[in-house]
């Protein structure tokens, strides 16, 4: 597998009326081509912001850290995303090499333009197709994602399609430029569970066929377990645990990940009571010092956890965790 994306020390802060808010704090991860990485977290975790940073899609009051480095490795060469300043430079990356799918498909389709026209427009910007070729290709893509009667749907508006179909159309649109990296931001959250299952299957098939890398953002660990190869767990802007999906879900190391899994109502075990993680997620304006999770952690070691930010320690070959419990040699 070839390396597709390298994200190093991604730090992002927003300048707002209430002060400088840290949304993402020193996050690093890699992605190979053909790999699906799940980015999991709750509100305020910074997962959406992290993914959008790869395309530099954050609002203008976003301030990146000095050491932030994002490298996208394409066949034509490697691109340093941080160095792309003008929107013209970024246009190559956005929609071309990298595509983005949103949670709310109604929000990403312009309501007054037909689906077909939007797909064609995108193709004509990013490829050398002419309008007729783009139209044929788009209809093909719509068919490929399982939309029946694709040539009719091509001429319809977003509101004429159901939620599941809109999401598929969005996937078709995102994939029509044959991106190397697909960022899916909560693509199935707004869908009914039976439709969600279909869309997940579709994405798995497409990954196999196109060999793209996918960053799959969600709060739903079940979806990750079914679609991702590896998972990264975020809390309040920091990456707390990373690893192969089997390892992290079967053998969670970080107290937050453990808490998250314990709080999930699972159909497999109806007898165990639901155990929430005590306390509330702190507001990004009040990030705790030291380890961001220390205020709610049942395994809080005291002074160390509330003053020192833990670095990454290995749990196994492909599984790392940022927790003081694992820092000492032989501890836990």
């Amino acid at each position: 597998m070839t390396r597709l994306l390298d994200v190093e020390n991604l730090t992002l802060q927003f300048d707002t009326d209430e002060g400088r808010i840290t949304a993402v704090d020193d996050v690093s991860f890699t992605l190979e081509a053909g790999e699906v990485m799940g980015l999991v977290g709750e509100s305020g975790s910074g997962k959406s912001v992290t993914a959008k940073s790869v395309m530099k899609l954050n609002p203008s009051n976003a301030i990146y850290g000095d050491k932030t480095k994002i490298m996208l490795h394409l066949e034509s060469g490697s691109i340093d995303i941080m160095s792309l300043k003008s929107s013209k430079d970024l246009q190559v990356v956005r929609g071309g090499a990298i595509s983005l799918i949103f949670q709310e498909p109604m929000a990403s389709f312009a309501p007054a333009i037909t689906i077909g026209n939007q797909m064609v427009e995108q193709l004509m910007i990013h490829t050398s197709m002419n309008s007729k070729q783009a139209q044929e290709f788009s209809i093909e893509m719509l068919d490929r994602v399982g939309i029946s009667d694709a040539s009719t749907r091509f001429k319809q508006y977003a509101f004429e399609l159901s939620g599941g179909m809109r999401q598929r159309a969005m996937i078709a649109m995102a994939l029509s430029t044959k991106p190397k990296l697909l960022i899916a931001d909560e693509p199935t959250t707004a869908l009914d569970v039976t439709i969600q299952a279909q869309v997940i299957d579709l994405m798995k098939d497409l990954v196999k066929e196109f060999g793209m890398g996918i960053i799959f953002i969600t709060h739903d660990l079940g979806v990750i377990a079914q679609t991702a190869d590896k998972v990264a767990v975020m809390y309040l802007g920091r990456l707390v645990e990373q690893g192969a999906v089997r390892d992290v879900i079967r053998n969670p190391a970080h107290p937050y990940t453990k808490g998250l899994l314990a709080a999930l109502p699972s159909l497999d075990d109806l007898d165990t009571p639901l155990t929430p993680i005590p306390g509330d997620i702190p507001s990004p304006l009040e990030r705790p010092p030291g380890c961001v999770f220390n205020t709610r952690c049942s395994a809080n070691l005291g002074a160390r956890c509330s003053s020192e930010i833990p670095g990454f320690s290995p749990v196994s070959d492909s599984h790392t965790v940022a927790c003081h419990l694992y820092n000492e040699e032989g501890a836990k």
Partner: protein, 381 residues
Amino acid sequence: MTDQTNTPSAADQKLKEAYFTASQNQLIWQRFKKNKSALAGAWVLIFLVLSGIFAPFLTPYDPTIAGRDKDYLNGAPQIPSFCDDNGCSMRPFIYTTERTRSIKTNFRWVTETDTSLEGRRYVEFFTEGSSYKYFGITFDTHLFGVDKGMIHIFGTDSTGKDIYSRTLTAINTSMAVGTIGVFIAFVLALAIGGVAGYYGGWIDSALQMITDTVRTIPSIPLFMALAAFIPDVWSAEMRFFFISMVLGLIGWPTLARRIRTHLLTERNQEYVLAAQLCGATPRHVIRRHLLPSFTSYIIVDLVISFPYMVLSETALSFIGLGLKDPVNSLGVMLQNVTSADVLLNYQWYFIPVIFFIILVLAFVFVGDGLRDAADPYSDHK
């Protein structure tokens, strides 16, 4: 790495608590204050409004024919200076001007300026002048005047009326017309838009049809028709009230539509449903939920309607269908501005226009600032 010294100090805690216990209106005010241009606009507005209210005190002369300067027709602005060839003085002064004609000037009237030391006329403050009344009490002090003759810092018009005095009183008149117009429009809009928004259904459809019909009537021909009906025998004051009323009667549909939309949105809020599920009477819903939500939006709408009223009145008066002398507004002042003579020679006639541009802009900035501050979406999550 990020700064992690986040132990909240007592001052921080107090600020946070203040934020948590701040009501919606307080939050809106906070947001408004942060908007520099809106705040600047607000100050300018307050300044201009006060100038208008205190115009009789701030201006040296009566703006009507009664206060004209027969010796200084179409006179250029007289800017006081402190120094000239004859030396400097602590007090600002202007020069004596005199209209003469003689053989030398081919019997044309010319204005001669006497720039000698004797020709100086010193500006004095808190002088006595024509009297004016506030709440029945007569005053006659004016902010400034001149020891001999008259001073015209913005110049005079063709009959010798001081443009500076007229400008400030014009601001006052236009604001008064705007206030009455907005008030009438508001009362009508509240009644019609309120009923439509609250009841919905067919009542709403019917009222909407009426509102839209009135809105589509082209305003200028309507103004002209109504204004043409004004009998000549009416006094200037009656004319003033009538014009204000007409503006209100034409302006209510836009406001009504906004009120209706606010009410419709508010009525469908979940917390209103929650109250209704407890058996809340319509009175309770209106009092507890609809009216409070309403006030912040309506203030915005009212502020934004103001400049439209002022400009409509200006337009009407300019074409001669609105106010007339002695009632004085910007439109009235601009009535005589269209001749080539004025455009070429007496450019100071346009000084009031600058004031009005600033006034309208101030309203717009404040209105926009209020609207941004009251925006519900910036409050969410």
